[in-house]
């Protein structure tokens, strides 16, 4: 681009400047490679950050409204699950800090892991790191360039939130600090993902380790925010640190030193490992040879089950653990004295009372439907990955039709969704029953089954995206689920018209056990799912296979 840049190839003398130039080029490349994901998350963050203050101002215009809201919500354990602990919710800023700090921090954690694993293990697995290191780049330079790319994406998330808060009318300095506390979660989990990339020899295992860390951090925060006497647990999870920073509610900036130091230590450890190990390997060496295990190779279905086994166990384990915790916690939900206005707002939020143990459990299953929808997307992506890596080409050159292959993957996903949902129902019941909540097992299994139409609808939409636009289907699938869920959370607060609110499948889920099963809605969702799946099958049969 510049004249100096052109002169570079012959000028071997400028070693230091040359290294920096290499780092800059690599960082720019990595940033470009990741930009679709970064921009999608940034758009989501900006929108969510804007909607919270704007929605609160709209829903609770007077101080009296806000005080009565605070009285009911501050003591409501149900809402603390995913929004975190409310320190002060009578002001717009305090309310926003509560809602954003809790929810966006989870998305920030996921982003950190995804971005870091892509920048480190993903690059290495593709063989690009090897190629780059064969040139002028040093290991330190490659590591630094990936860090720079990560840093720029975290800054983008921070700026996106800041823009959202500012547009929502919050003070600038406090907004910057709130955005920083959320971004700190992304930084810590990026460090976790970086370390996982050194440990795991494959991208998939690195992602599994990183997601495990996110799930553990979330579980700890949920326990800290809901169980009495467990508040100290907030100090052992990065999601808790963001809460402890108390943006807008008595800010404690010094708390942010904890994530900063933790991230520095993790990045440092990762760098030490990265500098010493063989490129292309991880510390958790997988055995290169093993005696053949010939079970579960007999059909595409059995092979899909074999290859997805660890993933299925991880999803079932995480959702099951949350179900058990939620079930146990449900016993401590009590009904506070609520004003009529607050009841209406609560009703808007979740269409039923969530201030009783059963109402709380019903509310929780909304989240399980979300988790199952994300699981469906993950399974469709695993199938897509098979095609992208051109392994599907090898399979379809055998006497195996496309529909049989896709059908076997879909069948596995449907069975897994049903099994995980029932497991969640069973464990939620077990947790609740152990604490003396009077709710029957069939009722809870019914609540679990009620998640199925929604999850299957998302599965069918992800399939349709995969069949029609395979190159971008990963983002489209997750995007549909995420937007549908966020719309359910914020749509009613911003006073969207009924027909627009109804655009999300979550709006049509009956909250079992406090509401009765809505057969019509369930049948409609299943019918749409069937139609979408049939369209997906037709489209998939007719298109060219792709390779990444």
């Amino acid at each position: 681009m510049t004249a100096a840049g052109h002169a570079e190839p012959t000028g071997g003398g400028a070693a230091g400047g040359g290294d920096l130039a290499v780092v800059r080029v690599l960082a720019a490349r990595a940033t470009r490679d990741a930009r679709t994901r970064t921009l999608s998350f940034a758009a989501l963050f900006a929108l969510y950050a804007y909607v919270q203050p704007a929605g609160f101002r709209h829903a609770y215009p007077t101080l009296a409204d806000r005080v009565s809201f605070a009285h009911s919500f501050a003591g409501n354990d149900a809402l603390r699950l995913f929004y975190g602990y409310p320190y002060e919710v009578t002001s717009i800023a305090g309310y926003t800090a509560w809602r954003v700090g809790g929810t966006l921090a989870i998305a920030a954690a996921a982003f950190g892991v995804l971005a870091a694993v892509r920048a480190f293990r993903g690059e290495e697995e593709s063989g690009r790191t090897e190629l780059v290191l064969a040139g002028r780049a040093t290991r330190g330079g490659v590591f630094a360039s990936a860090l720079l790319a990560l840093a720029s994406s975290v800054v983008a998330l921070w700026a996106a939130q800041l823009a959202g808060f500012a547009a929502g009318g919050l003070p600038l300095a406090g907004s910057a600090y709130l955005a920083l506390s959320v971004a700190s979660v992304a930084v810590v989990y990026a460090a976790v993902g970086t370390l996982a990339s050194q440990l795991a020899p494959t991208r998939r295992l690195a992602l599994e380790l990183g997601s495990g860390a996110v799930a553990l951090g979330l579980l700890l925060r949920v326990i800290a925010d809901t169980a009495s006497g467990a508040g100290w647990l907030r100090w052992v999870t990065p999601l808790g640190w963001a809460e402890q920073a108390r943006p807008f509610t008595g800010a404690r900036p010094a708390v942010l030193l904890v994530p900063a130091m933790t991230a520095a230590a993790l990045f440092g450890a990762a760098f030490v490992l990265a500098a010493r190990r063989d490129i292309g390997t991880g510390l958790l060496a997988e055995r290169e040879s093993s005696p053949p295990r010939l079970r579960m190779l007999g059909s595409p279905f059995m092979y899909a089950l074999r290859s997805q086994k660890s993933s299925l166990v991880a999803w079932a384990g995480s959702i099951g653990a949350f179900a058990l915790v939620f079930g146990t916690v449900s016993a401590s939900i009590g009904s506070a004295a609520l004003s009529g206005g607050v009841r209406r707002e609560l009703a808007k939020l979740s269409s039923a009372s969530i201030t009783t143990p059963t109402g709380y459990l019903a509310f929780v299953f909304l989240f399980f439907a979300l988790a199952l929808g994300l699981f469906a997307c993950a399974q469709v992506n695993a199938a897509r990955h098979e095609e992208g890596e051109q392994r599907l080409e090898t399979l379809l050159a055998l006497p195996l039709t496309r529909l049989r292959w896709l059908g076997s993957r879909v069948l596995l996903t449907v069975l897994a969704i049903a099994a995980i949902a029932l497991l969640a129902g069973l464990l939620a019941w077990a947790g609740a029953a152990a604490e003396g909540v009077s709710v029957s097992l069939p009722t809870m299994l019914g609540a679990a089954a009620n998640c199925l139409p929604t999850a299957l609808l998302f599965l069918a939409l992800a399939l349709l995206a995969y069949a029609l636009v395979p190159r971008v289907s990963v983002g489209v699938g997750y995007g549909i689920v995420a937007v549908a869920f966020l719309w359910q959370l914020v749509g009613s607060l911003v006073g969207a018209p009924r027909w627009l609110l109804d655009a999300t499948p979550f709006a049509h889920m009956a909250l079992i056990p406090v509401q009765s099963f809505r057969a019509g809605a369930a049948v409609a969702m299943l019918a749409i799912a069937l139609g979408a799946a049939a369209a997906a099958a037709l489209a998939f049969r007719r298109r060219d296979l792709i390779g990444d």
Binding site: E288, S289, P291, L297, R391, D544
Partner: protein, 328 residues
């Protein structure tokens, strides 16, 4: 071109059927259409790029067919169309009479494929991969598979992710060869194999030929095609620009005659179809296309010390096509 096709194919098959000893195999073979691969006006366009343009391919059963072309000529696209992985923009392709796009599963019962890029399942071992591919296919010749594992010196307990490209290629080759499928479609199968394994590969293709399997070998390793193939098609920018047996191709290409004289080389008159080049004070080289009689007559009275004559190599034919077709 189409009317000329069937007659020689029938003749070839008649010979095969006389030789055929195994009655059961013979019966099965004779039920299958004589053309292993036939395409009519097969074309594929990706956006504005025309990858394959009006291809008419006919490969008879039992034939080893070399599919030549430089990178990007459309070899892999042709194979993807033959496997029904991509949909033709125009024209049709059939394998043993089954349409490649409309009835892929039927077509694939008789096909085994080796992809140019050995993408297999990283977490499986070689043995597990062979088992998976055999089970999904619905059977394989296990005894022959063991022979091939020995021949290609594959460590079947190694995981795919720990194997080099050449070793992953072996896994694919073993799976395809052991299937004993009547048609082997091989996309640059020896890229990444060492010279010893290249010999093992050639031996295996000879065995396949003896079993009357059809082989469609896409390659740009000319010595391999020259050693193995009965017939060769040359592809350039998606079109088949030449096709025939090696003898036929040679007939059209230049024949080289090198002559050393006892004294200074004489001036030769201009002759039709003969290109003359001075290679030393006493030596001349002639590139002869067509009849050689004129040259022999001219050389008749000359004091010749030595004379060598050789047929063009496939490489010369190949380069001739690319050089001459590039200009007009």
């Amino acid at each position: 071109m189409a009317p000329g096709g069937p007659a020689p194919i029938l003749a070839v098959m008649a010979v095969h059927e006389v030789i055929e000893t195994d009655a059961a195999v013979g019966a099965r073979r004779s039920q299958r259409p004589r053309a292993a691969i036939s395409t009519r006006g097969l074309s594929k366009r990706y956006g504005r790029t025309i990858a394959v343009d009006g291809l008419d391919l006919n490969v008879s059963a039992g034939e080893v067919y070399g599919y030549l072309g430089p990178n990007g000529a459309g070899k892999t696209t042709t194979i993807r169309l033959l496997l029904g992985l991509h949909r033709p923009t125009a024209g049709t392709a059939a394998v043993f009479g089954s349409d490649c796009w409309r009835e892929p599963a039927a077509a694939h019962r008789d096909v085994a494929y080796v992809a140019g890029e050995p993408s297999l399942w990283p977490a499986l071992t070689g043995a597990e991969t062979l088992e998976l591919l055999a089970r999904v296919r619905g059977g394989t010749d296990a005894a022959y598979r063991n022979i091939l594992v020995e021949r290609f010196r594959l460590d079947p307990d190694k995981k795919i992710r720990a194997l080099s490209k050449g070793n992953r290629q072996k896994v694919q080759l073993i799976a395809a060869l052991a299937s004993r499928a009547p048609l082997l479609i091989l996309d640059e199968p020896t890229a990444g194999l060492d010279p010893l394994m290249e010999i093992a590969f050639r031996d295996s293709i000879q065995e396949a030929r003896e079993r009357e399997q059809t082989v469609f070998l896409s390659s740009h390793i000319l010595s391999e095609v020259e050693a193995l193939c009965d017939r060769v098609g040359i592809l350039r920018e998606g079109r088949l620009i030449d096709e025939g047996t090696l003898a036929e191709l040679r007939h059209l290409a230049a024949h080289t005659v090198e002559v050393t004289f006892t004294g200074p080389a004489p001036e030769m008159p201009a002759m039709h179809g003969v290109k003359t080049e001075r290679t030393g004070p006493n030596a001349l080289r002639f590139e002869v296309t067509g009849e050689i009689a004129d040259l022999i007559a001219e050389l008749g009275g000359q004091p010749i010390e030595s004379l060598t004559s050789r047929e063009p190599s496939l490489e010369e034919i190949f380069l001739h096509h690319y050089d001459s077709s590039a200009s007009p």
